[in-house]
Amino acid sequence: MHTPSGGSVGKSLPRVDGVAKVTGAAHYLDDLVVPRLRHGVTVRSTVAHGTFDGLDLDPAFDWSQITVVTADHLGWGQGLAAGGLGQNHIAMLDTDQPALVPVGGRIKHVDEPLALIAAPTRALALAARAHARPRQTAQPAVLAIDDALRAEVKLYGDDNVFKQFLIRKGHATDDELEAAMAGADRVLEGTYHTGAQEQMYIEPQAMMATLDGGIMRIAGSMQCPYYVHKAMKVLLGCDAEQVVVTQTVTGGGFGGKEEYPSMLAAHCALLAQASGAPVKMVYDRDADIAATTKRHPSRVHHRLGLRADGTIAAIDVDVIFDGGAYLTLSPVVLSRGVLHAAGPYRCDVVRVRGRAVATNHPPHGAFRGFGAPQTTFAYERQLAKAARVLGVAPWDHRDRLALRPGDTTATGQVLERSVGTDDVLRAIREAAGPPPTRDGTNRHGAPVRRGRGHAFYFHGAGFTGSGEQRLAGRATVVARPDGTFEVLASSTDMGQGAITIFTQLAAEALGVPPEQVRVPDPATDHVPDSGPTVASRTCMVVGGLVDRAARTLRLRVEAWADAAGIKGDLATRAAAMIAAMIERGGGDLVGGGVAETVQYEPPPGIHWDDATYTGQAYPCYGWAGCLVDVEVDLDTREVSLLRCVHAVDVGRAINPVIVRGQIEGGTVQALGWAVLESVVYRDGKVANASMTNCIVPTFADVPDLETIIVECPYPYGPSGAKGVGEIPMDGPAAAVANALEDALGVPFDRLPILPEDIARALRPGGGAGGAGGGAA
């Protein structure tokens, strides 16, 4: 596995884009200088539900330099080649979301795109927008999960349910489930609420489109170039070759640039076609917060049937996600939510029901963790309550119940390998130290109360079930005549370090120094489709493809060179091979070099049944434990986070510093979700759409993090690596809520937990569940 001349894996190679980023030389979309560029802005709805009756343009304004586009005067159905367009929807899982609401069409959320404006300067585009007034008629809106389920106002089908799932383990009927629950000595029941969460990447959504010789070129900030490519083919009505999508340096994504960039690309493309000029759209922060996808708000009802000895007799979970106005990715987010809802604990009888419902909120979508953080919050609150009523120490309780090799998950998957439970629990217990002193004063002299919370959780790495097989991702490694090697994949680096990891994996497999490896920006006319950059799959799945392609290439070059009697390092031998191929006509060369492309092959023995939701939901899981110490100022109810210890099993850390960065970044997003981050909807509109009041943690809001990398290798991941991107987001919020209950003696079952929620909970008879009383 370790070649003497490579040896890149396991070392903290500084990220290959590091110098460009610290010097300001890295060019993000908004940094590009483009001649004749026009700036696009969006005219948006102001009602949550209603009809778009038309757009009035102020005749007093000079429109001579302005391009205005509504859905109405466009050549839908004619196709790009005929100067027209394809279909007015954003192709994702469904066709329900239009690129622009047509005049006479239905508005389904506030800040929905109704019209587009482009102008030579941004200031002029904004001035024009101030003189464009959409006429709208409002209708009653659906703004709560229960209203969606009542379906008096229908937004999707007859029942407003985008998708539902049912998982049954160890029983066939609801009666059998109830019998198992009745056989428990004690049933703990709770309802848990979590709010929307904004990704708050620091680079706002940014995209550009250029119609160039019949080819629509899209460039911008995105996670998934081939998602955008697919959406553009449908929108424009064209062949694959008529759209080229290129990812530019991307300033953070976290899921927020998974599906939304297709909308932005559509708008840029419509304006580029209408204006005949390149069009750039960069969202202001307020528009980005108001209009783009967020983490699904959730309500999870959880029943935990406990035997007298503390083991679990039955688990019953009912998961409901607010999907917002359009289906987008909600079914997939819900899937991951329900698949994690029973937690990493032994139980023979499990029922999980899940529904994603339609409301008139802007669509909710992908955000790191992808449904799992919501259900993890519920089950780890339940486990903490169980430990408390049983009088068992928190880690002992989890240690006793946690899944080990040979155990089965809720879907009946038998865990065979790479189960990090013991190593994670051992590591975090060793690091735990004594709990904080319960009572004291802080530096302002105010009385404080302190507490400690725990959480243990798992996260499936890669796509669910047979998703990777269906996708059949591909990656290419090329030996170039100049002595470099290129990795070609559509997987993007949005800051998480993918191109550095690919560099290390390729260098290791090729046995060359990492300086000889390059990873060009993904462009759909240059790179194979290795799939989207999501689902904690990039290192494990695509990294595995890169590893295998590089090994195949190395063997091919070495076999040729051995036969030809060429000595030297791999670059020298590859250059000789390329020269020989050119002499023979060069027909086998790919981009002037020798290339090997490999396609995904599933590990042996994977079986998944989509109809019954049984089998191997994920090829493997990451495992994690989190310990949080909190301090509450009893005067202001402000929460200070004193310690956060996080042990995460990643299989193998290809680059330990990058892995730490992934764990710590996810941890702080989870801590923020717990006690700071609140998206406030008022009449369907985000009421706090600015960074001034939609806050995220700063340097001063979090403690020094105690990060422990645990390595239980996964034999089918490159060098043993599995997923790391999402699992750090799943559990820390539950650990914080558990710590607050430990400190204050009242439960907190609703996220976020803000000072006003603590004040309410501590008020006599104030309801323990935070705002609205979420506790059962």
């Binding site: 610290v22 010097t23 994504g253 850390a653 960065g661 710590e664 943690p697 990060t707």
Partner: protein, 181 residues
């Protein structure tokens, strides 16, 4: 109305004829093509547009061009010495790369500028808790990727190169609990 504004930028004199109300951020990016300074929020919350104005960190989205006449601005492009092809990085930039303090990089120019000021002002020398001091002084720069830990490590290493804190988190640190406190 346009006004001729003359000010120092990274040691050179720049003159631009712009509205005195134009944001310094836009003057830098649009008129001087110094795109290392980034816009994250446009309201002084995120710190991605941080530059030094007469040696003091400011949010360039909240500074008007007219306020800059006769003054000196330092942007991220002014931190390194050497050439663009072979930059001699400022200690803060070097440590941010070495210790994983930059991920997506969009907040990094602002953090680098602010942290360079922190190093050069000697604010950490003799501080009883240098890590807490770094967290306090960088609290105006939001990073959504790193969780801040490795950025703090990098700034401490740059500002107090002889301190024992500089050993944390470098190289293969981070395996097990090495480099974590």
């Amino acid at each position: 109305m346009s006004l001729l504004v003359t000010f120092g930028v990274n040691g050179q004199i720049a003159s631009v004829e712009v509205s005195p109300w134009k944001r310094l951020l836009d003057v830098l990016r649009e008129d001087l093509h110094l795109t290392g300074t980034k816009e994250g929020c446009g309201e002084g919350e995120c710190g991605a547009c941080t530059v030094l104005l007469d040696g003091v960190p400011v949010n360039s989205c909240l500074v008007a061009a007219g306020q800059c006449d006769g003054r000196a601005v330092t942007t991220v492009e002014g931190l390194a010495r050497g050439s663009a092809a072979e930059p001699l990085l400022h200690a803060v930039q070097r440590e941010l790369v070495a210790r994983g303090g930059a991920q997506c990089g969009i907040c990094t120019p602002g953090i680098a500028v602010c942290a360079a000021h922190l190093c050069e002002s000697g604010a950490l020398v003799g501080a009883s808790d240098p890590r807490a001091k770094v967290r306090e002084l960088l609290a105006g720069n939001i990073c959504r990727c790193t969780g801040y830990q490795l950025v703090v490590d990098a700034v401490i290493a740059a500002a107090l190169p002889d301190g024992e804190s500089a050993e944390d988190g470098a190289g293969d640190g981070g395996r097990g609990d090495g480099g974590a406190r």
